[in-house]
Protein backbone atom coordinates (compact mmCIF):
# COMPACT_ATOMS: atom_id res chain seq x y z
CA UNK A 1 0.00 0.00 0.00
CA UNK A 2 1.22 3.52 -0.66
CA UNK A 3 2.10 5.78 2.21
CA UNK A 4 0.39 9.14 2.23
CA UNK A 5 2.56 10.51 5.01
CA UNK A 6 6.15 9.48 5.58
CA UNK A 7 8.03 11.01 8.47
CA UNK A 8 11.70 10.28 9.17
CA UNK A 9 13.69 11.36 12.22
CA UNK A 10 11.47 14.37 12.67
CA UNK A 11 12.31 16.89 15.36
CA UNK A 12 11.03 20.28 16.39
CA UNK A 13 12.77 22.20 19.12
CA UNK A 14 11.95 25.58 20.60
CA UNK A 15 15.14 26.73 22.23
CA UNK A 16 15.91 23.97 24.71
CA UNK A 17 12.47 22.39 24.60
CA UNK A 18 11.93 19.53 22.18
CA UNK A 19 8.27 19.46 21.23
CA UNK A 20 8.95 16.58 18.88
CA UNK A 21 12.10 14.47 18.83
CA UNK A 22 13.25 11.57 16.71
CA UNK A 23 9.85 10.64 15.34
CA UNK A 24 9.49 8.29 12.37
CA UNK A 25 6.33 6.71 11.04
CA UNK A 26 4.29 6.31 7.92
CA UNK A 27 0.54 6.44 7.41
CA UNK A 28 -1.10 4.39 4.68
CA UNK A 29 -3.54 5.92 2.28
CA UNK A 30 -7.24 5.37 2.77
CA UNK A 31 -7.14 4.49 6.42
CA UNK A 32 -8.21 6.03 9.70
CA UNK A 33 -5.24 6.56 11.97
CA UNK A 34 -5.49 7.66 15.57
CA UNK A 35 -2.89 10.04 16.94
CA UNK A 36 -3.13 9.53 20.67
CA UNK A 37 -1.39 10.94 23.68
CA UNK A 38 -1.69 13.24 26.63
CA UNK A 39 -2.20 16.97 26.39
CA UNK A 40 1.04 18.59 25.38
CA UNK A 41 2.52 15.33 24.11
CA UNK A 42 3.17 16.81 20.69
CA UNK A 43 0.15 15.66 18.68
CA UNK A 44 -0.80 19.12 17.44
CA UNK A 45 2.82 19.98 16.69
CA UNK A 46 3.11 16.83 14.59
CA UNK A 47 0.01 17.72 12.64
CA UNK A 48 1.26 21.25 12.09
CA UNK A 49 4.57 19.89 10.85
CA UNK A 50 2.90 17.46 8.47
CA UNK A 51 0.80 20.26 6.95
CA UNK A 52 3.77 22.56 6.49
CA UNK A 53 2.43 25.10 8.96
CA UNK A 54 5.26 24.49 11.36
CA UNK A 55 8.89 24.20 10.26
CA UNK A 56 10.87 21.10 11.21
CA UNK A 57 14.13 21.53 13.09
CA UNK A 58 15.39 18.24 11.70
CA UNK A 59 14.21 15.25 9.74
CA UNK A 60 12.09 14.74 6.64
CA UNK A 61 8.42 14.86 5.91
CA UNK A 62 6.83 13.54 2.74
CA UNK A 63 3.14 14.01 2.06
CA UNK A 64 1.89 12.49 -1.20
CA UNK A 65 5.56 11.95 -1.85
CA UNK A 66 6.55 15.61 -1.58
CA UNK A 67 7.65 18.13 1.02
CA UNK A 68 4.45 19.82 2.18
CA UNK A 69 5.99 23.18 3.10
CA UNK A 70 4.68 25.93 0.79
CA UNK A 71 3.52 23.18 -1.57
CA UNK A 72 0.20 24.28 -3.05
CA UNK A 73 -0.33 20.99 -4.87
CA UNK A 74 -0.03 18.95 -1.67
CA UNK A 75 -1.89 21.40 0.54
CA UNK A 76 -4.90 21.56 -1.79
CA UNK A 77 -5.38 17.85 -1.09
CA UNK A 78 -5.08 18.37 2.66
CA UNK A 79 -7.50 19.65 5.27
CA UNK A 80 -6.39 20.38 8.83
CA UNK A 81 -9.02 21.24 11.38
CA UNK A 82 -8.40 22.09 15.01
CA UNK A 83 -10.12 23.69 17.97
CA UNK A 84 -7.47 26.37 18.31
CA UNK A 85 -8.14 27.62 14.75
CA UNK A 86 -7.98 31.40 14.57
CA UNK A 87 -10.89 33.20 12.96
CA UNK A 88 -10.69 36.87 11.85
CA UNK A 89 -12.70 39.32 13.93
CA UNK A 90 -16.18 39.73 12.65
CA UNK A 91 -16.18 36.47 10.71
CA UNK A 92 -19.44 34.62 11.08
CA UNK A 93 -20.06 30.92 10.61
CA UNK A 94 -21.27 31.49 7.07
CA UNK A 95 -18.10 33.45 6.19
CA UNK A 96 -15.96 30.61 7.46
CA UNK A 97 -17.84 28.02 5.42
CA UNK A 98 -17.68 30.26 2.37
CA UNK A 99 -13.90 30.51 2.86
CA UNK A 100 -13.63 26.74 3.18
CA UNK A 101 -15.62 26.28 -0.02
CA UNK A 102 -13.05 28.39 -1.84
CA UNK A 103 -10.03 26.61 -0.35
CA UNK A 104 -11.00 22.98 -0.89
CA UNK A 105 -11.42 21.85 -4.50
CA UNK A 106 -13.58 18.88 -3.50
CA UNK A 107 -15.90 20.88 -1.25
CA UNK A 108 -19.45 19.49 -1.20
CA UNK A 109 -21.80 22.37 -0.43
CA UNK A 110 -24.92 20.20 -0.18
CA UNK A 111 -23.26 17.88 2.30
CA UNK A 112 -22.07 20.90 4.29
CA UNK A 113 -25.61 22.30 4.39
CA UNK A 114 -26.99 19.01 5.65
CA UNK A 115 -24.32 18.85 8.34
CA UNK A 116 -25.09 22.42 9.42
CA UNK A 117 -28.68 21.35 9.98
CA UNK A 118 -27.79 18.19 11.87
CA UNK A 119 -25.20 19.84 14.11
CA UNK A 120 -27.45 22.88 14.54
CA UNK A 121 -24.79 25.47 13.84
CA UNK A 122 -25.96 29.12 13.94
CA UNK A 123 -24.30 30.34 10.76
CA UNK A 124 -25.16 33.97 11.34
CA UNK A 125 -23.40 34.15 14.65
CA UNK A 126 -19.85 35.44 14.94
CA UNK A 127 -17.28 32.70 15.51
CA UNK A 128 -16.13 34.48 18.66
CA UNK A 129 -19.66 34.45 20.05
CA UNK A 130 -20.26 30.77 19.40
CA UNK A 131 -20.06 28.20 22.15
CA UNK A 132 -17.13 25.83 22.20
CA UNK A 133 -19.31 23.05 20.87
CA UNK A 134 -20.63 25.17 18.01
CA UNK A 135 -17.10 26.15 17.03
CA UNK A 136 -16.09 22.50 17.08
CA UNK A 137 -19.10 21.69 14.93
CA UNK A 138 -17.94 24.19 12.34
CA UNK A 139 -14.55 22.54 12.36
CA UNK A 140 -16.09 19.10 11.99
CA UNK A 141 -18.24 20.27 9.10
CA UNK A 142 -15.20 21.68 7.33
CA UNK A 143 -13.28 18.49 7.98
CA UNK A 144 -16.03 16.30 6.55
CA UNK A 145 -17.34 18.43 3.67
CA UNK A 146 -13.86 19.24 2.38
CA UNK A 147 -13.54 15.63 1.17
CA UNK A 148 -9.79 16.24 1.18
CA UNK A 149 -7.66 13.20 0.36
CA UNK A 150 -5.78 13.76 3.60
CA UNK A 151 -7.90 15.04 6.46
CA UNK A 152 -6.38 15.79 9.84
CA UNK A 153 -8.72 16.37 12.76
CA UNK A 154 -7.13 17.63 15.98
CA UNK A 155 -9.39 16.93 18.95
CA UNK A 156 -12.34 17.74 16.72
CA UNK A 157 -15.01 17.31 19.31
CA UNK A 158 -13.85 19.55 22.12
CA UNK A 159 -17.02 20.86 23.64
CA UNK A 160 -19.32 18.53 21.74
CA UNK A 161 -21.80 16.68 23.90
CA UNK A 162 -22.17 12.91 23.70
CA UNK A 163 -25.01 13.12 21.19
CA UNK A 164 -23.04 15.37 18.87
CA UNK A 165 -20.01 13.12 19.21
CA UNK A 166 -22.01 10.07 18.13
CA UNK A 167 -23.31 12.12 15.23
CA UNK A 168 -19.74 12.94 14.30
CA UNK A 169 -18.60 9.30 14.44
CA UNK A 170 -21.56 8.17 12.37
CA UNK A 171 -21.00 10.81 9.72
CA UNK A 172 -17.29 10.19 9.64
CA UNK A 173 -17.77 6.45 9.15
CA UNK A 174 -20.49 6.83 6.59
CA UNK A 175 -18.66 9.41 4.49
CA UNK A 176 -15.40 7.49 4.85
CA UNK A 177 -17.15 4.38 3.52
CA UNK A 178 -18.51 6.21 0.52
CA UNK A 179 -15.49 8.44 -0.10
CA UNK A 180 -12.40 6.65 1.15
CA UNK A 181 -9.55 8.94 2.13
CA UNK A 182 -6.82 9.16 4.72
CA UNK A 183 -7.97 10.45 8.06
CA UNK A 184 -5.73 11.24 11.00
CA UNK A 185 -7.66 11.79 14.18
CA UNK A 186 -6.08 13.02 17.38
CA UNK A 187 -8.04 12.48 20.53
CA UNK A 188 -7.75 11.71 24.20
CA UNK A 189 -11.17 9.97 24.19
CA UNK A 190 -9.55 6.76 23.06
CA UNK A 191 -12.24 4.23 23.85
CA UNK A 192 -14.92 6.19 22.04
CA UNK A 193 -12.84 6.46 18.92
CA UNK A 194 -11.29 3.00 19.22
CA UNK A 195 -13.72 1.21 16.92
CA UNK A 196 -13.04 3.77 14.17
CA UNK A 197 -9.29 3.39 14.22
CA UNK A 198 -7.33 1.03 12.01
CA UNK A 199 -3.95 2.24 13.13
CA UNK A 200 -2.72 3.83 16.32
CA UNK A 201 0.19 6.20 16.92
CA UNK A 202 0.84 7.05 20.54
CA UNK A 203 2.92 10.13 21.25
CA UNK A 204 4.42 10.87 24.63
CA UNK A 205 6.66 13.83 25.46
CA UNK A 206 7.45 14.42 21.83
CA UNK A 207 8.47 10.87 20.97
CA UNK A 208 6.61 8.02 19.42
CA UNK A 209 5.69 5.48 22.09
CA UNK A 210 3.56 3.09 20.06
CA UNK A 211 2.99 2.49 16.38
CA UNK A 212 0.69 -0.44 15.75
CA UNK A 213 -2.49 -1.68 14.13
CA UNK A 214 -5.42 -1.26 16.48
CA UNK A 215 -6.37 -4.89 16.03
CA UNK A 216 -2.89 -6.01 17.03
CA UNK A 217 -3.15 -4.03 20.24
CA UNK A 218 -6.58 -5.14 21.25
CA UNK A 219 -6.42 -8.20 23.42
CA UNK A 220 -2.68 -8.06 24.01
CA UNK A 221 -3.18 -7.03 27.60
CA UNK A 222 -5.28 -8.62 30.31
CA UNK A 223 -5.86 -7.80 33.97
CA UNK A 224 -5.61 -10.59 36.52
CA UNK A 225 -7.38 -10.15 39.81
CA UNK A 226 -7.03 -12.38 42.83
CA UNK A 227 -5.29 -12.95 46.10
CA UNK A 228 -2.02 -11.15 46.41
CA UNK A 229 0.07 -14.30 46.54
CA UNK A 230 -1.51 -15.93 43.50
CA UNK A 231 -1.19 -12.75 41.49
CA UNK A 232 2.41 -12.25 42.49
CA UNK A 233 3.29 -15.82 41.63
CA UNK A 234 1.79 -15.41 38.19
CA UNK A 235 3.29 -12.03 37.49
CA UNK A 236 6.93 -12.85 38.23
CA UNK A 237 9.03 -12.77 35.12
CA UNK A 238 6.35 -11.14 32.98
CA UNK A 239 6.19 -7.52 31.74
CA UNK A 240 3.86 -5.66 34.07
CA UNK A 241 1.89 -2.64 32.89
CA UNK A 242 0.17 -1.81 36.13
CA UNK A 243 -0.34 -3.11 39.61
CA UNK A 244 -2.86 -2.25 42.26
CA UNK A 245 -3.55 -3.68 45.67
CA UNK A 246 -6.22 -3.30 48.29
CA UNK A 247 -6.22 -5.45 51.41
CA UNK A 248 -5.25 -8.94 50.33
CA UNK A 249 -6.54 -8.41 46.80
CA UNK A 250 -4.28 -7.47 43.92
CA UNK A 251 -4.82 -6.72 40.29
CA UNK A 252 -2.01 -6.78 37.76
CA UNK A 253 -2.13 -5.84 34.11
CA UNK A 254 0.11 -7.93 31.90
CA UNK A 255 0.89 -8.22 28.24
CA UNK A 256 1.93 -11.14 26.16
CA UNK A 257 -0.21 -13.85 27.69
CA UNK A 258 -1.10 -16.72 25.40
CA UNK A 259 -4.43 -18.50 25.57
CA UNK A 260 -2.76 -21.30 27.48
CA UNK A 261 -1.39 -18.80 29.98
CA UNK A 262 -4.86 -17.37 30.43
CA UNK A 263 -6.30 -20.81 31.07
CA UNK A 264 -3.55 -21.42 33.63
CA UNK A 265 -4.47 -18.18 35.34
CA UNK A 266 -8.08 -19.27 35.64
CA UNK A 267 -6.92 -22.62 36.96
CA UNK A 268 -4.91 -20.78 39.57
CA UNK A 269 -8.10 -19.14 40.77
CA UNK A 270 -7.46 -15.72 39.23
CA UNK A 271 -10.10 -13.67 37.46
CA UNK A 272 -9.46 -12.28 34.02
CA UNK A 273 -10.68 -8.83 33.07
CA UNK A 274 -10.28 -7.32 29.63
CA UNK A 275 -8.11 -4.26 29.10
CA UNK A 276 -9.52 -1.63 26.79
CA UNK A 277 -7.38 0.20 24.27
CA UNK A 278 -7.58 3.32 26.40
CA UNK A 279 -6.46 1.50 29.53
CA UNK A 280 -3.63 -0.12 27.62
CA UNK A 281 -2.38 3.17 26.26
CA UNK A 282 -2.80 4.99 29.55
CA UNK A 283 -0.80 2.26 31.30
CA UNK A 284 1.96 2.39 28.73
CA UNK A 285 2.10 6.18 28.84
CA UNK A 286 2.16 6.27 32.60
CA UNK A 287 4.75 3.53 32.60
CA UNK A 288 6.92 5.49 30.21
CA UNK A 289 6.68 8.47 32.51
CA UNK A 290 7.72 6.52 35.56
CA UNK A 291 10.57 4.81 33.72
Amino acid sequence: MTAVIEVTDLARTYGKVAAVSDVSFSIEENSICGLLGRNGAGKTTLMRLVTGQEFASAGEIRVFGENPVENAGVLARTCFVRESQVYPDGFRGKHVLRAAAHLFPNWDADYAARLVDEFRVPLDRRMKKMSRGQRSSVGVIIGLASRAELTLLDEPYAGLDAVARELFYDHLLRDYSENPRTIVLSTHLIDEAARLLEHVLVVDNGSLLMDAAADDLRGTAVTLVGSHNSVERFATGRPVLGWESIGGLSSVTLTGLSDADKADAVAAGLELAPVSLQQLIVSRTRGAQEA
Partner: protein, 118 residues
Protein backbone atom coordinates in the same frame (compact mmCIF):
# COMPACT_ATOMS: atom_id res chain seq x y z
CA UNK B 1 -18.13 -5.37 21.51
CA UNK B 2 -15.63 -7.18 23.68
CA UNK B 3 -12.48 -5.39 24.74
CA UNK B 4 -10.33 -8.46 24.87
CA UNK B 5 -10.29 -9.49 21.24
CA UNK B 6 -9.81 -7.75 17.89
CA UNK B 7 -13.09 -6.37 16.56
CA UNK B 8 -12.80 -8.12 13.21
CA UNK B 9 -12.68 -11.46 14.99
CA UNK B 10 -15.89 -10.60 16.83
CA UNK B 11 -17.55 -9.58 13.58
CA UNK B 12 -16.63 -12.91 12.06
CA UNK B 13 -17.91 -14.76 15.13
CA UNK B 14 -21.22 -12.90 15.02
CA UNK B 15 -21.74 -13.82 11.38
CA UNK B 16 -20.78 -17.43 12.20
CA UNK B 17 -23.35 -17.51 15.01
CA UNK B 18 -26.01 -16.19 12.67
CA UNK B 19 -25.20 -18.94 10.18
CA UNK B 20 -25.21 -21.60 12.90
CA UNK B 21 -28.51 -20.59 14.46
CA UNK B 22 -30.12 -20.43 11.05
CA UNK B 23 -30.91 -16.72 10.83
CA UNK B 24 -28.66 -16.64 7.76
CA UNK B 25 -29.31 -19.63 5.56
CA UNK B 26 -27.04 -21.04 2.91
CA UNK B 27 -27.03 -19.00 -0.29
CA UNK B 28 -28.57 -16.09 1.66
CA UNK B 29 -27.02 -12.69 1.04
CA UNK B 30 -24.65 -11.38 3.68
CA UNK B 31 -24.94 -7.63 4.51
CA UNK B 32 -22.52 -5.43 2.61
CA UNK B 33 -19.29 -4.20 4.21
CA UNK B 34 -20.60 -0.64 4.48
CA UNK B 35 -23.84 -1.81 6.06
CA UNK B 36 -21.99 -3.96 8.59
CA UNK B 37 -19.67 -1.06 9.40
CA UNK B 38 -22.55 1.36 9.85
CA UNK B 39 -24.53 -1.10 11.96
CA UNK B 40 -21.70 -1.98 14.33
CA UNK B 41 -20.33 1.58 14.14
CA UNK B 42 -16.90 0.39 13.17
CA UNK B 43 -14.36 1.16 10.52
CA UNK B 44 -15.27 -0.48 7.18
CA UNK B 45 -11.73 -1.85 6.95
CA UNK B 46 -12.38 -3.78 10.14
CA UNK B 47 -15.67 -5.11 8.81
CA UNK B 48 -13.87 -6.15 5.64
CA UNK B 49 -11.24 -7.97 7.66
CA UNK B 50 -13.88 -9.91 9.54
CA UNK B 51 -15.72 -10.92 6.40
CA UNK B 52 -12.45 -11.80 4.67
CA UNK B 53 -11.73 -14.25 7.49
CA UNK B 54 -14.88 -16.12 6.57
CA UNK B 55 -14.24 -15.84 2.84
CA UNK B 56 -10.81 -17.39 3.37
CA UNK B 57 -12.39 -20.27 5.27
CA UNK B 58 -14.89 -20.77 2.48
CA UNK B 59 -17.86 -19.92 4.70
CA UNK B 60 -18.80 -16.90 2.58
CA UNK B 61 -18.18 -16.33 -1.10
CA UNK B 62 -18.33 -13.25 -3.32
CA UNK B 63 -20.39 -12.97 -6.44
CA UNK B 64 -18.91 -10.18 -8.55
CA UNK B 65 -21.18 -7.21 -8.88
CA UNK B 66 -23.94 -8.79 -6.80
CA UNK B 67 -22.65 -9.23 -3.26
CA UNK B 68 -21.59 -11.82 -0.70
CA UNK B 69 -23.42 -15.02 0.07
CA UNK B 70 -23.31 -17.85 2.56
CA UNK B 71 -21.60 -20.84 1.02
CA UNK B 72 -23.17 -24.25 0.72
CA UNK B 73 -22.31 -26.51 3.62
CA UNK B 74 -21.16 -23.54 5.66
CA UNK B 75 -23.34 -24.39 8.62
CA UNK B 76 -22.12 -27.96 8.84
CA UNK B 77 -18.51 -26.89 8.64
CA UNK B 78 -18.95 -24.23 11.32
CA UNK B 79 -20.78 -26.57 13.68
CA UNK B 80 -18.05 -29.16 13.21
CA UNK B 81 -15.32 -26.63 13.89
CA UNK B 82 -17.04 -25.34 16.99
CA UNK B 83 -17.58 -28.85 18.25
CA UNK B 84 -13.87 -29.50 17.96
CA UNK B 85 -12.99 -26.34 19.81
CA UNK B 86 -15.68 -26.87 22.42
CA UNK B 87 -13.41 -28.84 24.71
CA UNK B 88 -10.66 -26.21 24.70
CA UNK B 89 -12.93 -23.17 24.78
CA UNK B 90 -15.48 -24.18 27.37
CA UNK B 91 -14.66 -27.42 29.13
CA UNK B 92 -11.08 -26.68 30.09
CA UNK B 93 -11.97 -23.56 32.12
CA UNK B 94 -14.84 -25.39 33.83
CA UNK B 95 -12.59 -28.26 34.77
CA UNK B 96 -10.05 -25.83 36.13
CA UNK B 97 -12.61 -23.98 38.20
CA UNK B 98 -14.13 -27.15 39.48
CA UNK B 99 -10.70 -28.29 40.54
CA UNK B 100 -10.11 -25.00 42.34
CA UNK B 101 -13.33 -25.57 44.29
CA UNK B 102 -12.46 -29.15 45.08
CA UNK B 103 -15.20 -30.66 42.88
CA UNK B 104 -14.16 -34.08 41.57
CA UNK B 105 -14.64 -35.02 37.89
CA UNK B 106 -17.42 -37.41 38.88
CA UNK B 107 -19.23 -34.71 40.85
CA UNK B 108 -18.77 -32.41 37.84
CA UNK B 109 -20.36 -34.95 35.50
CA UNK B 110 -23.29 -35.33 37.91
CA UNK B 111 -23.81 -31.55 37.95
CA UNK B 112 -23.74 -31.51 34.15
CA UNK B 113 -26.29 -34.34 33.95
CA UNK B 114 -28.60 -32.49 36.32
CA UNK B 115 -28.32 -29.29 34.30
CA UNK B 116 -28.94 -31.04 31.00
CA UNK B 117 -32.02 -32.80 32.39
CA UNK B 118 -33.78 -29.47 33.11
Amino acid sequence: MDESRPIFVQIAEQLESQIIDGSMREEAQVPSINDLAAFHRINPATALKGVSLLVDQGIIYKRRGVGMFVAEGARERLVAARREAFGDDYIRPIVARARALGISPEQLIEIIRREAAQ
